[in-house]
Amino acid sequence: MEKPKKVIYLDHAATTAVDPRVMEAMLPYWTERYGNASSIYSLGREAARAMEEARKTVADILNCEPKEIIFTSCGSESDNLAVRGVAFAQQHRGKGNHIITSSIEHHAIGHTCEQLEKYFGFEVTYLPVDKYAMVDPEDVRRAIRDDTVLISVMAANNEVGTIQPIAEIGKIAHEHGIPFHTDAVQAGGTLPLNVDELHVDLLSLSAHKFYGPKGVGVLYVRKGTPLLPIQTGGGHERQRRAGTENVAGIVGLATALKLAYDHAEENNARITALRERLIQGVLERIPEVQLTGHPTQRLPNNASFAFKYIEGESILLNLDMLGICASSGSACTSASLEPSHVLLAMGIPAEEAHGSLRLTLGNENTEEDVDYVLEVLPGIVEKLRMMSPLYQGAR
């Protein structure tokens, strides 16, 4: 079948292209400045210096000290280190074994908590969300027990884009002296990450979500937070994460994060306008579809929907034929063949979760891209509905 000429990439929540300026900053660290940051000769010191500069850049954006920044291999590793690292350290100190998290976390948190429950004697409370996928801070307060050792709630949801009341939850956690982690992987690059204003003790980031390279992430850990390293070995990252540092990746991450926050205001404004054009256009042109996630408290780039009577993978394949890249929380698109736990937690019935579509905009998208989607999507939905036994309009 004929391939479309142009690709319209609308899956920036999955990953982004590396910014050429980021690429350029990284390049020398593979071939010329390839030293091991642990070595004492000048080549090694050069790498160490680049890394410390990157650490300072990240720390400035998070409003923390450089030594509170740990570089990791990705967002999932950061989440694992945060949850396991704090949970095990706290358990070891006899603080208890109760964890509070939400029912809409990324699997890096959700499956980690499940494993801690199943094999390590932890108890986990999975907080419910409202129909917009929002956690109620009062639910956090009510769930706190004497033996609660960690609270982890994501900053913004990856599927429906809902922004969580992190600062409020953080205040409650701190009133009770409980470490608070937020998975800010989707929020990184767009939402403010000031760790004091957010009242967080741990925060995860992943470079490839904000035009940095894949394979590098950050875990911020506030001074004094108990943390047992999960990966042991050499003394890298102040004994908290062993392993030779990905110097080029770390330089790339810092460069990308700085670029993102230097331009966050104008980029967010532009992308929010595109998002609204897309959301309004879909709701106006297509019947029996709902916006999923919060109408206003959502990531600037996230437009997600649930279409009745049709299945998400079918929508994605049709869009792909036209060069449009998107994603879905349909059971048929997941490796487990189960619908998105996020949509189900929001109270969306399984068959409607089946018809979910997520379009996430990015820096390179234009109004024309949005208009093209608005031009072709109604026809795709109609075509699939005419094929669906659930759609009465087909009779």
Binding site: M1, E311, E313, L317, C332, E351, H354, M387, S388, L390
Partner: protein
């Protein structure tokens, strides 16, 4: 995961989509694995499947298998159609990704259900 060209061709241009008014048999099946649905309508003449239509709510593989399965049995005798297996459907499409093999059950099951429905109706009319 990638679909073969033939799967994509059937998915984009499915044959025999729709509904038959006053069908001789109807088969409706749901896919317990992922919650999808398919219905098949048949018209029978001289023990042959004279016409067949389907409607499917499901993934690309489910729609493509529905399409090719209806093509495979159209014009065949009921006995031949009853022998259609899930595996034959998947093979006719040049294979399916492993995780999608269960989708090919939908089409064959729905066709078998439609024939069973036809035979049952026939039994009722000839008995009454």
């Amino acid at each position: 995961m990638e679909y073969s060209e033939l799967v994509m061709e059937h998915f984009m241009n499915p044959r025999n989509v729709g509904v038959i008014e006053n069908p001789d048999g109807v088969g409706k099946v749901g896919n317990p694995v992922c919650g999808d649905m398919m219905e098949i309508f048949i018209k029978v003449k001289d023990n042959h499947i004279a016409d067949i239509k389907f409607r499917t709510f499901g993934c690309g593989a489910a729609i493509a298998t529905s399409s090719i399965a209806t093509e495979m049995v159209k014009g065949k005798t009921l006995e031949e159609a009853e022998e259609l297996s899930n595996r034959a459907v998947a093979e006719a499409l040049g294979g399916l990704p492993p995780i999608k093999m269960h989708c090919s059950n939908l089409a064959a099951d729905a066709i078998h259900a439609a024939i069973a429905d036809y035979r049952q109706r026939l039994a009722i009319t000839s008995n009454g």
